[in-house]
């Protein structure tokens, strides 16, 4: 079961002697791709990114080349902005932290290339403030890069100017949503905007065309410039190209962050091979494969997945949970998502009511409160779950939870509605009997596994 990592972005992370200083980065070939990219020119970089079939690493998996193609620098009448979304907040995800703290120049190089490719002169790096000195790491890296001519006026004498500023968030998950982030950067409450008409590519930051990309996505651009889009697209699987940073947490022996070709590893290989299996000799009960918003998968589940066979015909294939490939399409086919790459594992001692109550508490706390279904519905979900966890469940609660969740998903301004509803819909769907049993045993339950922390 020895699956070896393919480290592209994490190549130097945790390598002995590797530091976040620019000197070290340069020793390892840093900013060579910036030189290459400047020589290639903006449209060539855009072409390579399109060819690479890179999909965004923040959660939605939207093709980066397509996102960029919504903006035409040659026709723009207003300045174009790029924002790096370093607000890493999806529970279960801790990949961007590694890049920011341990290899910030890689991010900067990818970001400068992306800005150059899209005619951006002013970019912001929106970092969550809980990375309490991440912003200092980045500001220092920016100063170093400016001093060396990689950033600022007339970058490497190419005539291209770019300023990047670090902007700290202040503890709001909703700032991960790109239009919420834009509002926050404009100095407002992070209320996501309605789309239409406020698509960032058209009416983004300061109502100008804006690209918002995740940290990992921007790092990938550097490697695409290095390898060429076609070569990059050969890593991973069709439509699921490149490597993927996976973060594993919860009840495994070796939690941590890993990098594999996208879809190059199965969920079973990840949990039992790479992460050493379930800790304390327990068995797997449930796993959330793409950050806490993703729908939960139950141990023993078998999924019907549509796949192309060798002749290119679509065929149904039954896939066991353990055999699910960790890529966008396979996890979507299993009814969940690859999301942000955060894999949260729960063993067979875990009480699903407690786990779900914990998750719903997160969403109730993080709802921005702008639109009705989310503002009212998500807190309601949390209150019901907290009540069940405290031993006051009602027989009607599972049905009510499902109804409330169904009336949130698909009806809100932004995807937060789905993020809050999917866990409830999937836990209720897949662990209904356990939840009903918990309700029947109200108050007489065995020792409570208090992880709901609904406070």
């Amino acid at each position: 079961m020895a699956i070896s990592e393919q480290r592209l972005i994490f190549k130097h992370i945790d390598a002995p002697g590797y530091t976040r200083d620019m000197e070290c980065y340069l020793k390892h070939g840093g900013y060579e791709m910036l030189k290459k990219g400047l020589a290639m020119g903006p449209s060539a970089i855009r072409d390579e990114v399109k060819k690479s079939q890179l999909r965004g690493r923040g959660g939605a998996g939207f093709p980066t080349g397509t996102k960029w193609s919504f903006i035409d620098p040659s026709k723009a009448t207003k300045p174009i902005y790029l924002i790096c979304n370093a607000d890493e907040s999806e529970p279960g995800t801790f990949k961007d932290r590694q890049i920011i703290y341990k290899d910030p120049h890689q991010l900067l190089e990818g970001m400068i290339l992306s800005c150059f490719a899209n005619g951006v002169k002013l970019a912001y790096l929106y970092i969550r403030c809980e990375f309490t000195f991440g912003h200092k790491v980045l500001e220092k890296a920016i100063q170093e890069a400016k001093a060396a001519g990689f950033l600022g006026k007339n970058i490497l004498k190419s005539g291209y100017d770019l300023e990047i500023y670090v902007h700290r968030g202040a503890g709001a998950y909703i700032c991960g949503e790109e239009t919420g982030l834009i509002e926050s950067l404009e100095g407002k409450r992070a209320y996501p905007r309605i789309k239409p008409p406020y698509f960032p590519a058209v009416l983004g930051l300061y109502m100008s065309p804006t690209i918002v990309n995740n940290v990992e996505t921007l790092c990938n651009v550097k490697h695409i410039v290095e390898m060429g889009g076609d070569a990059y697209a050969k890593i991973g699987r069709p439509n699921n190209t490149g490597t993927r940073l996976l973060c594993v947490s919860g009840d495994v022996v070796k939690p941590g962050y890993y990098e594999f070709p996208c879809g190059g590893i199965t969920l079973g290989q990840l949990i039992y091979g790479v992460c050493g299996g379930i800790r304390n000799g327990r068995r797997l009960k449930a796993v959330i494969p793409g950050g806490s918003s993703a729908k939960v998968l139950r141990a023993g589940e078998v999924f019907k997945v549509k796949e192309k066979d060798a002749q290119g015909n679509m065929v149904d294939r039954e896939v066991k949970l353990e055999d699910l490939r960790m890529d966008f399409d396979s996890l979507a086919a299993a009814g969940s998502m690859a999301g942000s790459g955060g894999v949260i594992v729960m063993d067979d001692t875990r009480d699903m009511v407690e786990c779900l109550a914990n998750i719903s508490t997160f969403y109730a706390h993080e709802s921005c409160g702008q639109c009705t279904p989310c503002r009212e519905g998500v807190l309601w979900l949390k209150k019901i779950l907290a009540r069940i966890a405290e031993g006051h469940g009602r027989d009607s609660d599972p049905g009510l939870l499902k109804d409330v969740a169904d009336r949130i998903a698909g009806r809100t301004i932004c995807a937060f509605g789905e993020a809050a509803a999917w866990p409830v819909q999937s836990f209720i769907g897949k662990f209904k009997e356990e939840i009903q049993l918990r309700i029947r045993r109200n108050g007489t339950a065995a020792k409570r596994d208090t992880i709901s922390l609904t406070h």
Partner: protein
């Protein structure tokens, strides 16, 4: 060897009093220049600056920022109350944030929190946000995901980040508050 960066800038306990230094004014001006299109964008940076200087954001901070950015006070207060990092009253000299989100909860964040609460002798006081010890030395609150789920449970003590904080490590961290 990487150049060391000082992590601890968070000032939790100061009263919102004292002089606004020319250094602070200069910093504020510099922050505003980062937003050439709209200085309203500088509200969050200035709120951080104020909280790091004065410990929390009271009316004085709100009004100072509003005036500096030509905004109405309500436009600043809207943000102070939206973003949980900001506080409107002084916290303890040592402020602990315990991540409560699922991976940390699975890793025992509840026990860590309970241990800290006991060590600090804190009681829920009906306030929103953190519990603060009577002597103003400690404060404690749950935080949502701190993005280090692989080393759960994790906490922040002021600006310092700690991983795998079990009950034993929690007591060491409290003991280490000097």
């Amino acid at each position: 060897m990487s150049t060391p960066l000082r992590a601890g800038t968070e000032n939790c306990a100061s009263p919102e009093k004292g002089e606004i230094s020319s250094e602070m004014e200069k910093q504020a001006d510099e922050l505003v220049t980062r937003y050439p299109v709209s200085k309203r964008s500088a509200v969050l940076p200035l709120l951080h600056l104020w909280q790091e200087t004065f410990g929390y954001i009271g009316p004085r901070g709100v009004e100072w920022i509003a005036k500096r950015l030509s905004l109405q006070e309500i436009q600043v207060l809207e943000l102070v109350t939206f973003y949980p990092w900001f506080r409107q009253r002084p916290y303890g000299k040592f402020h602990f944030r315990v991540c409560r989100t699922l991976p940390c909860a699975l890793g025992g964040a509840g026990k860590t929190f309970a241990a800290l609460q006991k060590l600090m002798n804190l009681k829920a006081d009906g306030h929103e946000g953190a519990m603060v010890s009577e002597d103003g030395r400690f404060s404690l609150e749950y935080s949502e995901c701190l993005a280090s789920c692989g080393t759960a449970p994790v906490i922040l003590r002021n600006d310092e980040f700690y991983e795998k904080v079990d009950e034993k490590k929690a007591s060491e961290l409290v003991a280490g508050c000097k």
